[in-house]
């Protein structure tokens, strides 16, 4: 088990290194941040001064080395735009993102898992077909569109919910729904297919042949096995939620990490983009690691194989 965890941590470090390299160079392809920071018609000397101030006039390799050196000391640099440490900005926005993602995840699991089980048990009948329609809608309607329609219906026409901002639980409902919608469909589909696979297995057949009641066959023998892939997906989805929340957070003006990244990209605020992406990447690999370890806890075969 110990070796298993150590090996996984090694992979995590490698992934993050590659990510830092990629984001560092790609963000520099987007353009010159100085042109957005100076007033229109500024002299080349002014621009050069800004380049010098942010260290953008040095060779890329040196910039990257300095960036990595400060990352290793836990410093993600200063925002060009806000003039405050990126990490500070990140931490101030993260709770909002986590709150939104948690609500969206809870919603997606509460809808996705039971409907997936129902569809698999009633395969080919009404609930299965209803689930298929739901999954199709969930996977094909983009979250910003769902968000906009909800704002139109619940804020503009009905006036039940605030259209944007944060602060009360009411503010959370629409963004969580818009964000969780897609994931509910994806969890439902995976639960269904995973359950169908398990329900067709020999051990479920044997459980039936033992004379166990249907509820026990499904809840104990099938569900626990079917849950393994769903849990993995949910763990990874949680991090994806925080990242893809960029769109939903922008639509609902939700002050999360996604919106921070959006602003960073819009202002060519390199340190913000690098820092946010790197932090999101770190979260992704950590959650993957935790899911892998949880996997090993649930499934005795993985525990031993490692």
């Amino acid at each position: 088990m110990k070796q298993f965890v150590i090996r996984r941590i090694g992979y995590c470090v490698l992934s993050l290194f590659l990510l830092s390299l990629t984001i560092f160079f790609f963000v520099r392809v987007t353009g010159d941040p100085a042109t957005l920071l100076v007033e229109p018609g500024a002299s080349p000397a002014d621009i050069a001064a800004i380049h010098h101030q942010f260290g953008l006039d040095r060779p890329l390799i040196v910039q990257y080395a300095l960036f990595m050196a400060s990352v290793l000391t836990g410093d993600l640099g200063q925002s060009f735009y806000y003039r405050t440490p990126v990490l500070e900005l990140y931490w101030s926005r993260l709770p909002n993102s986590v709150m939104l993602a948690t609500a969206a995840m809870a919603f997606s699991l509460l809808i996705g898992i039971p409907s997936g089980i129902l569809a698999s048990v009633r395969v080919g009948r009404f609930w299965d077909n209803a689930g298929k329609v739901f999954a199709l809608l969930g996977l094909s309607l983009p979250s910003f569109w769902v968000g906009l329609v909800m704002i139109l219906v619940f804020s503009v026409y009905l006036g039940w919910l605030p259209s944007s901002g944060s602060g009360t639980p009411l503010h959370l409902i629409m963004p969580a729904f818009a964000l969780g919608w897609y994931f509910a469909a994806s969890h439902m589909r995976l639960t269904r297919s995973s359950m169908l696979e398990v329900l067709g297995s020999e051990y479920v057949k044997l459980a039936r042949l033992k004379g166990l009641p249907q509820s026990l066959v499904i809840a104990k023998h099938a569900f626990k096995n079917a849950l393994i892939p769903v849990l993995t997906l949910a763990g990874i989805n949680f991090v994806i939620m925080i990242s893809v929340a960029v769109v939903v957070e922008t639509v609902f003006a939700w002050p999360g990490v996604g919106r921070l990244l959006y602003e960073g990209i819009a202002f060519r605020d390199f340190p913000v983009v690098q820092g946010t992406v790197l932090m999101l990447g770190a979260m992704t690999v950590i959650v993957n690691l935790v899911v892998d370890v949880l996997y090993a806890v649930i499934d005795p075969r993985i525990r031993l194989a490692s």
Binding site: Y203, K210, G211, R301
Partner: protein, 339 residues
Amino acid sequence: MLFTPLLEIENLSTHYVSAQGTRVVRGVDDVSLRIHPGETLGIVGESGSGKSTLALTILRVLPPAARIVSGRMMFEGEDLLRKSDEEMQKIRGRRIAMILQDPMASLNPLFTIGNQVAEPIRVHEGASRATAWNRARELLKSVRIPSPETRVTQYPHEMSGGMRQRIVGAIGISCEPRLLIADEPTTSLDLTIQAQYLKLLRDLQRAHGLALIFITHNLGIVAKMCDQLAVMYAGRVVESGPVSRIFNAPMHPYTEALLNSIPKMGDDRQRLTAIDGQPPDLSKLPPGCAFAPRCPRAFDRCLQSAPPETAPEEGRTTRCWLAAPVIGVAAPVLRREAV
């Protein structure tokens, strides 16, 4: 035949119907069989001949596409087809148990052996966890699993194939059923383990007075294990009767071909004897006898209409025009030549 049969199946048919209802596969077609207490009935046939479907029909654990379309299944005087789902649940595992083909796949990987062996005891007898686990240890001992004390706390992947199959056997007998159906239980075991397992089944059968339905495609095992034999082809029982009499004088050309295909010691032929042709598509059965296209002795009538089940001798049945009363004169002659 003095006693009432433990299980008497009459004209049982199970069909698989496609989602649109356009394709019907006759998995089990008009099957009649009986088995007495303590007896062993072997069911042989090629893959896809309906053996497993028949077994699953008896326990009514069929995939959703399957329908039991007609027949009766009298078990200890009650018709299993008239039972509600709840009543069937109480019969499964308790009065009729079944051992599946693949020992590697029939245990749930996420639960301990003890949990899985104790489960039917807890469900059917309402035993406490401690009692059920004690019984589980005894059961493991009775199927000769060494150190059952530690084995109960282990998981399926920590056992060998032979051990797992014995554990599945232990689950089968856990509630002392009257009838045990074993669906090719030795197919995936190697030969020495096979022999051990067959001996174990025999011992268990004797110890518990079990009736055993043994599904296999291995005629050697049938000869060793079974009292009665039913040969299935394309969902139908083409021949049934006492094993020794069928082996000595098969009535159906298919049975004969099966018996001839067993390689014999001292046989100097270079090639194995196979039955020419392929088993038919069960959704497009020919109008006549399903075996006719492969049968070396087929004649016009075989291609036109399917032969009914007849009983040319006491205790034996067959479905072949050669054995039918109308042309009964020709059939025995041919058979004597063949033997």
